[in-house]
Amino acid sequence: MPLSTRSQDGDEGCVLAAALDNVRNLSNILKAISFKDHAVFTATRDGLKVTVEDSKCLQANAFIQTDVFQEFALREESVGFQVNLTVLLDCLAIFGCSSAPGVSTALRMCYNGYGYPLTLYLEEGGVVTVCKINTQEPEEPIDFDFCSTNVTNKVILQSESLKEAFSELDMTSEVLQITMSPSQPFFRLSTFGNSGNAHYDYPKDSDMMELFQCTKTQTNRYKMSLLKSSTKALALSCKASVRTDSRGFLSLQYLVRSDDGQICFVEYYCCPDEEVDEE
């Protein structure tokens, strides 16, 4: 680990200190959920959770587990703060976004507690940049009350097949309709755009389907504009879990495996758009 990212002077006051040899994976994950400026960071013993919300209807949570960090020191049970995510991403990319092999930016992140800025020490090739980002009063994230006991339908797919569908979705459609059913059409994504409608059907015995647990036919519509923001995380992921609960709330979970084999999760909750009469 580069010397410069080791303990710095003034570390004593940190309630949170975390270090990464390579900032790229963190950058990528945060970029995927940066559909709104403000992000709430919550650090617990398990790791770091970054929450971004849109229109009180969509919530994205990125989980970066403690193992991912080379150092993760927490003095309190849990530490929360809010920062401007766009500014944070700009700081992380301060040495450029080069993905050339052998070139990596190391990060050490310190937070001294309520009212203090978030301090980033970034180092690349012996050059250190210190960034201080003012923190904001953390807003209470919405509790979607999505409880695994209320899940009616669940599928786990290899992301590859879902990526293709999402990249081809008709964006002139206001909604994405998701049908999950124990019988035909099993798992269907539908759009209703200017030029007509389109359906993507995944049979339950497809090679792409790792798990198929549907108990009841459910058809729900979700705002395309909201779900569109989840496609960036989908693009990074290798597996995707799609769940709906009895109220029609949607949970999308993406498993992101970084180059060095470490695993992070990005999770989205989305409210259904409206009641749909089943055809």
Partner: protein
Amino acid sequence: MDCVATGGNVKVLAKAVHSLSRIGEDLYLEPLDDGLTLRTVNSSRSAFACFLLSPLFFQKFHVSHGRGFRCKMPIKSVQAVFRSLSSLERTVEKCHIELNSEKSRLTFTLHCKHGLLKTHNLSFQDCESLQAVFDKERCANVLQAQPRLLVDTVLHFPPSLEEVKASVTADRLLLKNHVENDADQAKAMRTELCLSSEEFLHFSVSAPTSITFCLKELRVSDGVLVFAESTDLPVSMHFDEPGSPVVLSVTDSVLEANFVLATLSEDSHCNHDNGHKKRPRTPPPADDFMCDDMDSYLIAMETSEMAGPSSRTEPRSSSEREQEEEQRPHSKKFCSFFFGSVLPTSSQTANQTLQNQDVLASDSEDEQ
């Protein structure tokens, strides 16, 4: 209509749609007994393209509708069905096209790997048939080459260049950029390229001539060149004197593609004009191609309720033409066209010239 394309032919179909999308906004689809036609025309009516996919192209081809069914839809929506050409080859096993005229739905069903089924129900509009008037068989000059030759040739011309002049003699093809007037000539960069007849697979020039056409349109027809290259088919170029269209075509046993580009008619060649343009017209100022010369590019397109024997279009009176020209929303610099549509009987093939009845004032888009 109910047809199924499989394997590599799905990609060919997708490529056909993509190359058409480089020309026009709408796709005109017409199932005939001798195949499925896909056609389009550009907004300034100076380029027209048509694919005829024969019944043998499809694993299953069935036309159940009464004769003369045809429709059009935004080409973008069809392109959306075949969005990614590269993944198409990997993933799509079968493409089923079904027309439901009761629901006014054209359904494309792609059967993909891993059992994934993609269904696109597209809405369409009824329309008249779209057909450019051209007759390849009557063209005095026919060149045939591997598409790569033409692709490489076009590459040499700067992207900003608008027109290119092609001159043929008995043993060579000379391409140069078209320079508009003397003042420009001193500054303008000139590009000239000479291809000897040996470079061509077939080189038959019975009437040495010079034609000028929009390079942009030739680039657009890269579609046909790329298409030809990927299917490893030679491209034929049929043309006559200035003013009559140049036709680039690709043919094999199961498909035929024709790209028709208008050419500039030059005053010096007025006396060569064929039956299309017998009517008198006022010559534009000499060498001033900036003027809005309506006659300079011409693709005749016509409407006919009745099918007649193959014959040349009757010339219209100049007042009719002027009327039509006034109705044109915008007149692009020296591009001009006859335009109409054809209602051929199903026995007629795409390329036959038809006897016109009433030439509509504008194209079929207004007819619904």
